[in-house]
Chain length 333, copies 2
Amino acid sequence: MNRHLICMLLTGSLCAPLQAERLKNEPIQPIEPTHIDEPAKVELGKKLFFDPRLSRSGFISCNSCHNLSMGGSDNLPSSIGHKWQEGPINSPTVLNSSMNVAQFWDGRAATLQEQAGGPISNPMEMASTHVLALDVLRSIPQYRQEFASIYGSDQIDIKQVTDAIAAFEETLVTPNSRFDQWLKGDDNVLTQAELDGYQTFKDIGCTACHNGPAAGGTSFQRMGIVEPYVTKNPAEGRVAVTGKDADRFSFKVPTLRNVELTYPYFHDGAHWKLEEAVDLMARLQLGRKLPKEDIDNMTAFLKTLTGDQPDFRIPQLPPSNNATPIPVPFATE
Amino acid sequence: MNRHLICMLLTGSLCAPLQAERLKNEPIQPIEPTHIDEPAKVELGKKLFFDPRLSRSGFISCNSCHNLSMGGSDNLPSSIGHKWQEGPINSPTVLNSSMNVAQFWDGRAATLQEQAGGPISNPMEMASTHVLALDVLRSIPQYRQEFASIYGSDQIDIKQVTDAIAAFEETLVTPNSRFDQWLKGDDNVLTQAELDGYQTFKDIGCTACHNGPAAGGTSFQRMGIVEPYVTKNPAEGRVAVTGKDADRFSFKVPTLRNVELTYPYFHDGAHWKLEEAVDLMARLQLGRKLPKEDIDNMTAFLKTLTGDQPDFRIPQLPPSNNATPIPVPFATE
């Protein structure tokens, strides 16, 4: 701090060496803006992300549960699926999801592309089939044209569909949070409470799991290491993928980026208050009962992780026509 | 045409007198772009329009059934409401709805502002109450601030909420359709089939009801004048408002603007093909059985009424906090 002050006085600006040092030493790294290499593919993916015709009802789109006006989540404990079915688990945010080691809470999809195919054909979510979703898209000349110009063929297949959706999702990063401004050297952007909260966050060991640019998303951890996590949710996490008993109740560590926007918390979405989530994590994972002041400061710190939200024009979807399969929201079968 | 050609050859540009003549004589008038007088109010209204927290489930927003990526409609026969209830009637497009003589198919709301309060508290739609919706908004400091700066008070009331939503909806006009370009004097923008279709549209009397800038929306008419309209939908239309037997099966004439995007058609949403809708209207309302060529040409003409769609950035909704009432999508009461 002293060195920094001298530096400011001497040069009237921030000191590059100090910035570099901070960037190197902190366990959380800044999120950088994306560079869009294939704008046409991203635009197509955006349309698909917002297109409810990928669902059997014609009502549910990717954006229904990963709402880009609400932190890329639905802000519900678990999602509402086809015919108002109650989903089994909390919808993770799509923001910065390209930084996850794998997708879904149990990591059963290795990539965003693999993930994107799941909800479309999940009977509890969008309840379509890949065959039906492709029939819908292939019936629409404007879609055929876009796919042809990007993929060299208008014989739209599911790999192209999920590739385009993933390309759009890769753009959904949230740079420029106040925390990132601080990481990059702006000392005036965080309050003392926020800095204290960050210090506690590091001191008690949160950064063992919540690290890297996304402050999470890079590993699977048992939910309830010191004390068990009490929940009515039957999900058992990673064991469903690996079959290993050691992975029971192991879940992907969620990103803490934009955590202010992605309530309610945990895989069961049972906790709406960030203070509650901080308290629980400290006790259950680290065996620490934190005083209220620390919880409040850590909560204040976590809110500095809210970055610039995706900022784009709403897509216009090409209309269906006489050849397009008709959605059946109320069919009884 | 000859006069116009001479005019073009002489001046190298379109002839103002001819344009004025066309504008004066045609039963459909162009839609003009809106001028936004109160941008802050429109921005607030946009947020409210997209905010699912105005519903009891936290899942349904105005945009769910008046989807601005899909012609301001949901492209379903009738809408999906709270807990997947099947709505009683087709959701009319919100596009150009400020030009309607009244709102809803039966005109039971005189203004957009009056309309906007309805779905929020309708148990079959968003299923909230005005009290609960206001509690949600009042709990959110960013909303309170916006309301205060626009309405001079942060004691948000339902009149302010619906006023802001209506202000946003008033911006949802769709100028610059190919038909409007033709109306304004561009002779090269319509095909012969489209022009022929428009001529038939006028000749057989469609313009008696579908006139003005919105090509409809200005009157109530009996559905099935010459022949009865066969439907399973029990709605009886305007009689519900006036109590007059003469208004039984009388509905607001829908706008034909963007009709290419607002399928399926009629108050029961029973017809997905525009050709079918044209054929039915000609027979039921005007007693004319049209040959296929006329139907095809009129359909081609109707597709020239697709205008520039609302083009705006997706809103970012201010987050809930510990004081915000929690949505209850799966409550059993």
